[in-house]
Symmetry: C2
Subunit: 419 residues, 2 copies
């Protein structure tokens, strides 16, 4: 695998102070890898002309492609243009075409030009020799310049602007320059641990030369990733073997989300779903609603946080609550059935459990029951999840959506091969 | 403000590839600032001995305190010990006391020593002259070593382990060494833009010498931050003046969350709340349920995603839906009243709107109505929110919780001074 060495520099005091998390670096790391640029250097730099210059020079020592994000705005703290120009040894020029474009954007936003601080116009300046990269979703354009044989891209800092400029102006050129386009295929699994996934894949998959294999685990999901810089076709047999070895534990491919996969399965069946949530408090519903176009299959849900609301809203038999408690398989099953009935949906999915920090009904933190009710019957799953309140809740969402997915895909078999 | 210059190095190929986001850097940036160390250099480094050495040397050029995270585990890819030892020019020594501790941990975890790969024992190696930093929540200890007058800390990579070691072994020493402890006070505002906040604060607040002021905006929340390295008492008058200037737009202090603040206000009033959500699909409920101990005031909610569920679950008059549409102030008000009634709560809070990507009922993406119904009456707020589906939904949650907060704090006045 031959890849160009790349560097990512995220600019802004707020990154160093920890006011915001540097999500741009992760996004760029993955996006650049896809077009044959391997990030070997990634740094945050404050809003300081001297430090910015040092950072760009160091990045150019390590990499032939340097991508900066941030520092292109209109304030005195925005110094990326100045720093790159200084490193390149060229002046900044006001570009009339950028000035015109800026004027249009300002007017379109209903602002009055005369009211704007003079500094706004620095967004029309570029280092001499640089090419402007139009920003389809914001005012500050990016730019591209070659310095000492290195290709330097300066991109806006807001993630959606940065991503839009990269997609429109950066990826194609980098793929052409690296001459290699990394192809990555991912299988997404749930209901199974990373060690088991690795064991099964390694027993079944013979990796062709030039293909690498990685496992990534988090929030109850294990990803199996195959990567090659060669002909993408070499991945197909390995991917198929891994998929066979993992069987029903695979719920999706590549960028799939659980809610979107479940949504497609429901749509194929002409079915709808409703939710009833206790410890997740709406997160399962929110996962569905994060998916554009889900309204044809997701009907809605009940958040049954107070114990009496489990009875009043979802119709859980008070005797079940008295005998087994709110945190029980019986309550989860009854909630799933209640959601289905109250919302007139084909399927109901429910969660109940102890998110912490304190035990409840004598049950320890991490005790969770999820259940699914649908035309073929009702299933439930008892879990003991590690971690704090947030992790327990997130893993519960994963488990609930995965149980529903298994019931939709394998309605005639128990959803988990127990034992 | 005199602060020691600090550097943060996060170690691991997975950071460069974008498989995980570098949350450790942000956490450390804020934690170090608190004890008088200003991070001026922050980088990610891959699992490569040569590059790690270069990165540590560069960090030592820029900073007198260098904090590494990651690369302390038991695999061949874990090279932080080796790299730091090489930079210091010292060998690695096996430490018997760490070996013993590791043995105890392994046995306590129910694992059999003989089954473990030999590489596990490298976690008992430290550069000569280094001090071990006990890891209270994991197997790999951190360490601390002085190199050329720089203080270098190597910490485990998993965030909860890193944080535990920093709290136990790093912060006190750094505060003592820097001789300054930064004190930060934050006011949190909503329902008002960053520019307006800045204008009002700057007209009202005279900053004492040695106090810095910053504004941070995101997801509809603006934070005003005052920082000093001097006596924390100097912040009080400036903070009070800013609070007066911002009036009812301030909803919280420091690390407050909206849901926790609203929860406290409800608890003080002896009141409860319920939710009815369309476009947010459970996010408002999930925000409440993320707060430990909320069950005494949050009753539960309705996720009324399908239009007919707004009627069947929350009792919205079909005539309102027919006349004004599902995305309307009238529907939001009726949903809030419905949530209140169905869940027998004192207050109801509701959301409806167009999250995108497509318009709905002829209303553009970002059209949002939130409403609150309670003992003193019903209020609603119409919003036009920018951004994509995720941003629209998140800002709607902010607006809904803020409207409820205003109604609880100022039941006799309209919640927003309009115009």
């Amino acid at each position: 695998m031959t890849a160009l060495p790349g560097a990512v520099l995220a600019v802004g005091d707020e990154l160093l102070l920890g006011d915001i998390v540097n999500g741009n670096a992760a996004w760029l790391g993955a996006a650049l890898a896809g077009c044959g640029v391997q990030v070997v250097h990634s740094a945050c730099v404050g809003d300081d002309l001297g430090r910015l210059g040092v950072a760009v020079r160091r990045a150019m020592e390590d990499a032939s492609v340097v991508v900066l994000t941030g520092g292109l705005g209109p304030t005195v703290d925005d110094l990326t243009r100045e720093a790159v120009a200084a490193v390149a040894g060229v002046p900044l020029d006001r570009r009339p075409e950028l000035e015109t474009r800026l004027r249009q954007r300002v007017s379109a936003a209903g602002q009055v030009l005369e009211d704007l601080p003079r500094a706004v116009w620095k967004q029309a300046d570029l280092p001499r020799g640089a090419t402007a990269l139009d920003n389809p979703v914001g005012t500050a354009p990016g730019f591209r310049i070659e310095i000492d044989g290195r290709l330097v891209f300066a991109l806006p800092g807001p993630p959606h602007e940065m991503q839009a400029v990269v997609r429109a102006h950066v990826l194609e050129e980098l793929a052409a320059r690296s001459g290699s386009r990394l192809t990555t295929r991912t299988l997404r699994c749930a209901g199974v641990g990373e060690a088991t996934v690795a064991e099964r894949v390694e027993a079944a998959v013979e990796l062709p030369p030039g293909v690498t294999l990685a496992y990534l685990a988090g929030e109850g999901i294990v990803r199996v990733r195959l990567t090659t810089a060669d002909d993408p076709a070499v991945l197909a047999p390995a991917l198929a073997a891994a998929r066979r070895a993992l069987g029903a534990d695979v719920w999706g491919d590549d960028d799939d989300t659980q809610a979107a996969v479940v949504g497609s399965l429901l749509r194929q069946a002409g079915h709808t779903v409703a939710t009833a949530e206790s410890l997740t408090g709406g997160l399962v519903g929110a996962a569905f609603c994060a998916t554009p176009g889900i309204s044809d299959v997701y009907r809605g849900g009940l958040i049954v946080y107070a114990t009496d609301s489990k009875q009043s809203l979802a119709g859980v038999d008070p005797q079940i609550l008295a005998e087994h408690g709110a945190v029980s398989a019986q309550t989860a099953r009854s909630l799933a059935a209640g959601a289905r009935e109250v919302l007139a949906a084909d399927w109901g999915v429910a969660t109940t459990g102890v998110a912490g920090p304190d035990p409840q009904e004598g049950k320890p933190v991490g005790t969770v029951h999820v259940a699914v009710a649908g035309p073929p019957g009702t299933w439930d799953l008892a879990l003991r999840l590690p971690g704090d309140r947030e992790r327990v809740r997130n893993r519960t969402v994963t488990a609930a959506l995965d149980l529903l997915r298994r019931c939709l895909q394998h309605p005639d078999a128990p959803p988990y091969a127990l034992g």
